[in-house]
Symmetry: C2
Subunit: 183 residues, 2 copies
Amino acid sequence: MKETAVPRVLGENVLARTKFVEFKERAYVNKFGEERRWSLVSRVGGQQAVMIIPYFGDKLVVTREFRVPVGGCCYSFPAGLIDPGEDAARAAQRELDEETGLKIAEVLAVSPPVFNSPGLCDEAVTLVYARVEGTPSREKLEADEDIETLFLDREQVAAIMNDPANAIGAKAWIEFYHFVNKK
Amino acid sequence: MKETAVPRVLGENVLARTKFVEFKERAYVNKFGEERRWSLVSRVGGQQAVMIIPYFGDKLVVTREFRVPVGGCCYSFPAGLIDPGEDAARAAQRELDEETGLKIAEVLAVSPPVFNSPGLCDEAVTLVYARVEGTPSREKLEADEDIETLFLDREQVAAIMNDPANAIGAKAWIEFYHFVNKK
């Protein structure tokens, strides 16, 4: 078959919805001009997320958080949803404070909204690399948050990566890899 | 309230299902011992993914692929689902070949299965850093795959990151950040 079409989305319908998440099917045209369907999930209202990759001196700040989809604790970084009317920078500071008690001292880099799993969901997250300061606190955690804040050197990050019993976020693993292997 | 419980999952029910994806609600207990519900998605059969982060000499191999959830093209790395009976290393070689025509010359690092979006789905992906070789080819692409293979130096990766019109995968963005900023 010849590639005759530019792939594009035609429309979508919602198959099921909870308070926070929608499950959808999108109709699209593939490169041969054939109409197909693709399943995906969206956050209700298209709410986007922010994740902070926090450096504290020469240590990496890592969270260990109970995550329902993982069915246990997962190593990652402070993250959360951007509130309506809030920008990503402000959400980064708020989530960092709520989840760890720390403050952003200097923003090192900010990504555009990037896609966590572009084959499965349209969820986008803004990544904020930051130098952080302060003293960790669990006082502002919500009832459904169970988060431990860890300050880790290179050897400690390597130990987490090397224990197969640990669940780790994919973005965190890539950051860990570079943190451990940096010259 | 006092933290009286260790958070844990109690059970789940499926709200909707397509051929490849299930939308579920899980009952769990939070740290106060309260029962709550959490929405998530799973791939049917718990199928897991593999992603190759391919280095070709001093260039990074990047894919630009039409992605239905993104609604357009997304910069990322070769990736796909692990077939039943296949291990992650074999799936990495197969997907790299199918999507780009390239071969793995040397595996540099392999992650455990790590979580793309631990708040929203239980989808896990094995990350394979590899030195690759060969000549790119589009001959083995499937009908629903529209993938361009790019060999990029540091300046070209930085240009992709700096154009806000580009959709980029979150894992790819973190790798791009380190590729561009490495000493």
